[in-house]
């Protein structure tokens, strides 16, 4: 079994895995995340790739470094990630969804009914 797919660079997938754990609450704010070395050995990837994934999140303020100890989830990280996801949902995903509905010739009423049905199921 391979742990990553080829659709995106591995370091991005490392970062996403950590973000998913923060959003789901598996790794709460203030908790330590796995080290570069742990990620490299666990996922069998080059340590430079693992480090790049972690540093991406440090640059975005999701994680912060404690020198000599490791990396931790920053306060407000979960809220920031949720806002980013909501932003992606309201801007990108809705657009794709609506344009696909239009290309299929579905009118607004039909789309609304489909959303309601799915939302309430």
């Amino acid at each position: 079994m391979r742990l990553f797919d080829e659709s995106k660079p591995i370091f991005q997938q490392v970062a996403e895995t950590i973000c998913n754990d923060i959003i789901s609450g598996v790794t709460p704010e203030g908790d330590q995340v796995p080290s570069t070395n742990e990620i490299a050995v666990f996922y069998r990837i080059n340590p430079a790739t693992a480090g790049k994934g972690l540093n991406l999140l440090v640059d975005r303020g999701i994680l912060y470094k404690k020198r000599g100890i490791g990396m931790f989830v920053a306060e407000g990280a979960r809220k920031q990630l949720l806002m980013e996801r909501e932003d992606a949902f309201t801007h990108t995903q809705i657009k794709t969804f609506v344009s696909e509905a239009k290309s299929l010739g579905l009118d607004l009423e039909t789309v609304r009914r489909l959303i309601e049905k799915e939302y309430n199921s």
Partner: protein, 301 residues
């Protein structure tokens, strides 16, 4: 890209090696940075084993320059002490059992770790009482891995170390390799055909094709070096004209081509406008395309 002075542990410059009428290496140049894991890729007969033998001082180039830790590796005591290279077809004396081989290896490698050797022997379940010459292909590979890793040599060279090993054993090897690399930083040069399985552990790859180094790059810089275009054959043909095509495949009216070279934004837009699909190419497809492009020109000539 960041510019920094690289600490090069292996430097190969214009190295040529011929065996009679056969040119195994044809002016090959590449470098390996200290304490990285470098993949050596290429089809059979591309020259991988030959360059490994030259780097470790077991063979000598006809021309060109090789520096390992600043030394010419041939007959260099320093390079002999600091490298470990277990050949794929390594022979052992007839009466040798496991402990004989381990004892001999320990004598030649100043950093040898008995503790690690014991751990690896247990991990790969190598038999103590069987003569080594009666080992299976997988057991011989496992033994080469034990010798390579337990030597803790500053430069460790593996030539297709996975032959005959099942997937579970290979995964254990990758895991221990990374652990060793992290806990005792050193340089690894590893040849492989299992690109898909191993590419993520490399930071750098060298691709040899017919005795020439055609790629010498950080893995992360490979993205965007090649791409694949697919769609109606006539449109694909039109698009790839005046571009470097590594490989094409045509089925009826459909075609795909692996193209090398940068892809400008307006190229991308114009391709998509006519309904062509552009996608990135995985390293293993890239390497197989390189091997393949040669065969096509060969057939045509």
């Amino acid at each position: 890209m960041t510019t920094h002075t690289a600490d090069l542990v292996i430097e190969v410059k214009n190295v040529t090696r011929t065996f009679g009428a056969t040119t195994a290496l044809d002016s090959v140049s590449f470098q390996v940075e200290r304490n990285t894991i470098c993949g050596l890729l290429g089809s059979n007969g591309a020259g991988k084993t030959t360059i490994m033998a030259i780097i470790t001082g077991q063979d000598r180039a006809n021309s060109g320059e090789v520096r390992v830790d600043g030394h010419d590796p041939f007959e260099s005591a320093h390079v002999a002490d600091s490298t470990s290279f277990v050949r794929d077809n390594q022979r052992y004396p007839d009466d040798y059992k496991l402990h004989h081989v381990l004892r001999a290896a320990a004598m030649f490698h100043p950093n040898w770790s008995d503790q690690l050797a014991d751990k690896l022997v247990a991990t790969f379940r190598l038999p103590a009482k069987t003569q080594v010459k009666k080992f299976s292909r997988g057991q011989l590979s496992a033994l080469a891995i034990v010798l390579g890793l337990a030597s803790r040599a500053p430069i460790t060279v593996f030539d297709e170390p996975y032959l005959g090993l099942d997937i579970a054993a290979r995964d254990r090897f990758y895991e221990i390799l990374l652990q060793e690399h992290l806990n005792h930083p050193r340089t690894f040069l590893i040849s492989t055909h299992l690109i898909e399985e191993m590419e993520n552990i490399f930071s750098h790859v060298v691709v040899l094709d017919q005795g020439k180094a055609v790629v010498n790059s950080e893995v992360e810089d490979l993205d965007g070096l090649v791409y694949e275009v697919a769609g109606k054959a006539v449109l694909v043909e039109e698009f790839v004209r005046s571009r470097t095509v590594l490989k094409t495949r045509t089925v009826g009216t459909l075609a795909s081509a692996i193209v090398s070279g940068p892809l400008a934004e307006h190229d991308r837009a114009s391709a998509q406008a006519v309904g062509l699909t552009l996608s990135s190419v995985a390293l293993h497809d890239f390497v197989s395309a390189i091997g393949n492009s040669y065969n096509l020109t060969e057939d045509a000539s």
